[in-house]
């Protein structure tokens, strides 16, 4: 009985902590964040298992966690409101090259983070080449490049000057 209750308590406390730590810390996991999560796992694992190392206890815990997980996914599927609460919603950070500074501040994202995502995903160099930057529920930043002033335009003059000089 108490195994199930402990598992539920740990599940929801950890969920709340991960949720308030914010999307920034979730999506962009560094090597150190990974170590930190391992430590958090180890610290809570002992509280759940206690001194009960039996196979039965392990099965009860696994069953409880998977049941909660499936239950929440069913709720998310049926209720858009709950989906937003449980899973966050996407937020637009850059709109037609214009940085939405207030949102960046609240979401703890810097302009450098957006430029980095632009470079990594599309090879973009400047903010005005970004049509939309969107902070996804997963914590990743998605970039939609601007078709007009994409990198094609800026790349060609250089290529031309190289060919003409040789």
């Amino acid at each position: 009985m108490d195994s199930v209750l402990k598992a539920c308590a740990v599940y929801f406390v950890l969920w709340a902590i991960v949720r308030i730590s914010g999307r920034r810390t979730l999506g962009e996991m560094t090597a150190f964040d990974f170590v930190l999560f391992l430590i958090i796992g180890g610290a809570t694992q002992r509280a759940i298992t206690g001194q009960d190392y039996s196979l039965t206890n392990a099965l009860i815990l696994v069953a409880t966690f998977v049941t909660i997980e499936i239950g929440l996914s069913l709720i998310e599927r049926d209720s858009p409101m709950m989906r937003r609460i449980l899973n966050a919603a996407p937020t637009i950070l850059v709109e037609n090259g214009h940085v939405l500074a207030y949102r960046l501040r609240r979401a703890r994202v810097t302009e450098d983070n957006i430029l980095e995502a632009g470079r990594r995903l599309h090879g973009l160099e400047r903010m005005d080449q970004i049509k939309f930057a969107i902070l996804e529920p997963s914590g990743n930043i998605s970039i939609v490049p601007n078709e007009r002033s994409g990198r094609v335009e800026t790349a060609w003059p250089e290529a031309n000057s190289l060919t003409s000089s040789s």
């Binding site: 709340a16 902590i17 949720r19 308030i20 914010g22 206690g50 001194q51 937003r84 966050a88 919603a89 996407p90 937020t91 637009i92 709109e95 939405l100 500074a101 207030y102 949102r103 609240r106 979401a107 939309f132 969107i134 939609v144």
Partner: protein, 164 residues
């Protein structure tokens, strides 16, 4: 400027900015709560620390203990007896102690013990003070109403909260 940023966009994704702002606010309250828990833990609200350490005395007995304990975590109770002409010191603990704690060690070991609650008798030189330390693991949680009696003095009552 900020007002414009607070407006929900519909393209390329459907936003709910009012909801999002509320979430951001809750997030910040959550940070404060986490920080508060850390500070309170440092001060000893969840175990050893200045908020937890207590010392009570009555008659010839002084008890040092922690007001807050955690289940299965070893707790220390130290009993100090003022000098007395008696060659033996008797310490009696009530049934709440016996049923909720698993005793790990008693220093010094009692010369005699009896099963009325927990009735321990220690050999001690007459005319000098005596100290007894009991290390014990609480195995249930909640408020423990404990009582300790030195020799035939009235019981010294104290309570301990054990966190789950």
């Amino acid at each position: 400027m900020v007002m414009d940023e607070l407006a929900s966009r519909k393209y390329p994704v459907r936003e709910h900015m009012r909801f999002q702002c509320r979430l951001w606010t809750i997030e910040r309250i959550g940070w404060l709560v986490l920080a508060l828990i850390t500070v309170l833990a440092l001060l000893g609200l969840f175990g050893t620390g200045i908020l937890s350490n207590r010392s009570i005395s009555a008659g010839s007995l002084t008890i040092d203990y922690d007001r807050f304990e955690r289940v299965t975590r070893q707790a220390e109770f130290s009993f100090h007896f003022a000098p007395s002409s008696n060659g033996e010191r008797r310490l009696r603990l009530n049934r709440a102690f016996q049923t909720n704690y698993q005793i790990a060690s008693i220093q010094p070991p009692p010369a005699r013990s009896s099963a009325d609650g927990l009735d321990l008798t220690f050999a001690a030189p007459a005319g000098s003070a005596a100290d007894v330390v009991i290390w014990a693991h609480p195995h249930s949680y909640g408020t423990m109403r404990l009582e300790a009696r030195a020799d035939d003095e009235p019981p010294l009552k104290f309570s301990v909260f054990v966190y789950p």
